[in-house]
């Protein structure tokens, strides 16, 4: 990379060099070639978009084709049945997943946002313990879900918390799993709010917390919401940790937070997919459709909320 003779700080050199190269290319080369490049690039971008859209469509279509024989009301209101899979339903699993998600949201929103606010705005970056916390969170984002299952079994179901094989334990385990997602997304959201907003508020005499609460968090709300949506979506689909923490594959009663067995949609689907009988495979595909439906409704609510509060700087 050639260096400039100007007194620009190093960090802007990359951008300045880019601009310079661009100017030279405009005045130095034929513009037809550039137009072609532009168009080709745009085409590549659209191809990428198409691939992403097609993947979602393919999965949806596949689930509909495989599962449509079972798309009836029984699927939602009936209990599971190994005797008559043709009329079996996912009711306890739907309720179980809903209770689990409610618990997860109740945990990750306050803790996640609080952590992000602390790390971005209150913590002194120089201190070693703050950098340790930061490294921690980034690391947790990559720990496999099954390891959280091991953690949940050792410390939440048994060990210090001893909640037993109940919904609350499952919620907490999955919440810990998706917490880093919320924290990282919230940090990005807070970071994207220009610091002039915060500094202006401070200059007017507000305390740091007042400024954060009233100015920064409101401004960062859409980004935080994105993080929560992504976390919830991931939480709904996780089967591996729940299997270890006690989600059963056969219940016929409604779940309770602190007692009794429970099930969850992905756990049941995974179990059904592994059975030999064809009717269970159809049931599994239908279950995937139910999960997708649940997912889309949560996403739509969040999108609507976000659309109302998005702003550009």
């Amino acid at each position: 990379m050639a260096t400039l003779n100007s007194p620009l700080p190093k960090r802007s050199q990359a951008a300045a060099l880019g601009a310079r190269a661009v100017t030279e290319s405009v005045f130095g080369k034929a513009s037809v070639q550039l137009k072609v490049k532009n168009l080709a690039f745009y085409g590549i971008l659209l191809t990428a978009l198409t691939i992403a859209t097609l993947s979602i469509a393919a999965i949806l279509i596949w689930s509909i084709i495989e599962g449509h024989p079972r798309l009836d009301l029984n699927l939602l209101v009936n209990n599971p049945s190994s005797i008559s899979p043709e009329t079996a339903g996912y009711r306890p699993a739907i309720l179980g997943s809903t209770y689990l998600i409610a618990g997860v949201i109740l945990f990750i929103v306050p803790i996640g946002v609080a952590s992000a606010v602390y790390m971005e705005l209150f913590a002194n970056r120089e201190k070693w313990y703050n950098r340790f916390i930061e490294l921690n969170i980034q690391n947790l984002a990559g720990v496999p879900s099954i390891v959280f299952g091991i953690l949940g079994l050792a410390f939440i179901v048994r060990g210090p918390l001893s909640l037993g094989f109940v919904v609350a334990a499952g919620s907490l385990t999955v919440a810990l799993l998706v917490l880093p997602t919320v924290i990282l997304a919230s940090r990005e959201a807070i970071r994207a709010v220009p610091s002039s907003i915060l500094e202006g508020s401070l200059a007017l005499g507000a305390t740091l917390w007042q400024s954060v609460r009233r100015q920064v968090l409101s401004a960062a709300f859409p980004g935080i919401l994105t993080g929560v949506i992504l976390a919830v979506a991931r939480a709904i689909g996780e089967a591996a940790p729940l299997l270890l923490v006690g989600a059963v594959t056969f219940v016929t009663f409604d779940p309770k937070y602190l007692e009794g067995g429970y099930s969850a949609l992905p756990v049941m689907i995974y179990n059904y997919a592994g059975r030999p009988q064809e009717e269970f495979h159809t049931l599994a595909a239908a279950g995937i459709l139910v999960m997708l439906l649940l997912l889309m409704s949560i996403n739509s609510i969040a999108i609507w909320l976000r659309a109302r509060s998005e702003q550009n700087w």
Binding site: N79, T249, N271, S309
Partner: protein
């Protein structure tokens, strides 16, 4: 922003309430969803049973336990029976910790596990609830009909590296002598794996490293064997029975001639040595509870119907009598 948060929470709680409300036809839907006919041999529960029964363990035995649970709950709606599938090993761990009332197992308890149970004071015994015949499956176009245990051992034992069917002792001049041999088998976390290796190769875990490990996905094994002429694999009987139009099973010669893995042969014990039992372990402390004792009795007394609904193989009369006696022993 506060309003938005409240709105979000409101919507979520509303949907939760809605779902639970629309499903309050709990007892109604249970009646309509389960099969109608269920011939009872005994059972007139005079008093209403209530409580909960927690079963965990092998995913092979789980379908039987689930059907038993469904039928049992039709008669005793006050009892909540749940069945989980943490695997035979995981089931034993919870069972010996006192966290479950019954443990589904596709193998007998190992010494290390029994030691933990003894440490925690859980006296237990195995109740056999069904039979299973491990079926050796090959491609449907494979002309071979029967293999002996010795031949199987030559193919599967530790150190074996056969490339074609012609290398199998006894098949050097057969039609398939030039067909490449591909082996499929469940992973070492499977009870089927443990049983097969012990019976065929002489020791649990003694096996060639030259096979395609399908993990726990028996359906994938069927797909694999179906797709290749020279493929061979082994699965539990229900998987074979459900896929008869995709693959075929070999007859096995255990020293008494070729025996096919058919229901009668497995139930009578002729299909040896690849016939095995499926068990549910019960502990005497859990059996103190009325509902648990009632569940186990129900399970055994209706095992024929349960096995047929599960697509499996029932117990013989002798086995049934033996296990009823075992249950009585634990109950007293």
């Amino acid at each position: 922003m506060k309003k938005n948060l409240i709105a979000t929470l409101a919507v979520i709680s509303a949907s939760a309430i809605l779902l639970s409300a629309c499903g309050s036809s709990d007892s109604a839907s249970e009646d309509t969803s389960a099969a109608t006919t269920s011939e009872e041999t005994t059972q007139e529960t005079t008093a209403e049973l209530s409580g909960s029964v927690r079963i965990d363990g092998s995913s092979t035995v789980a379908p039987y336990a689930e059907i038993a649970a469904e039928l049992f709950m039709q008669e005793n709606p006050g009892v909540q029976v749940s069945v989980a599938t943490s695997g035979t090993g995981g089931g034993f761990e919870k069972f010996c910790n006192g966290e479950t009332d019954g443990s589904n197992a596709s193998r007998l308890i190992k010494d290390e596990e029994a030691a933990i149970c003894a440490e925690n004071g859980i006296t237990n015994d195995n109740i056999q609830v069904a039979n299973d015949g491990i079926s050796v499956v090959v491609n449907i176009d494979n002309p071979i009909e029967c293999l002996s245990i010795e031949q199987l051992s030559a193919i599967w034992t530790d150190g074996a590296a056969l490339q074609t069917w012609g290398e199998v002792p006894g098949l050097e001049d057969s039609e398939v002598k030039d067909v490449p041999l591909t082996l499929y088998g469940p992973g070492s976390d499977s009870g089927t794996f443990g049983y097969f290796t012990e019976e065929v190769n002489g020791d649990d875990g003694l096996i060639t490293t030259n096979f395609v490990d399908i993990g726990e996905d028996d359906n994938a094994l069927i797909v694999g064997v179906e797709g290749e002429l020279g493929a061979m694999g082994y699965v539990g009987w229900t998987y074979y029975n459900e896929s008869r139009d995709q693959i075929k099973a070999l007859q096995i010669d255990g020293g008494n001639g070729c025996v096919a893995p058919e229901l009668e042969n497995v139930a009578s014990g002729d299909y040896s040595p690849l016939g095995r039992g499926l068990y549910v372990y019960a502990s005497d402390s859990s059996l103190q509870r009325e509902e648990v004792a009632a569940f186990f009795s129900f399970f055994l007394e209706n095992q024929a119907e349960i096995a047929s609904l599960a697509g499996g193989i029932p117990l013989t009369d002798a086995q049934l009598a033996e296990n009823l006696a075992k249950l009585d022993g634990l109950l007293s």
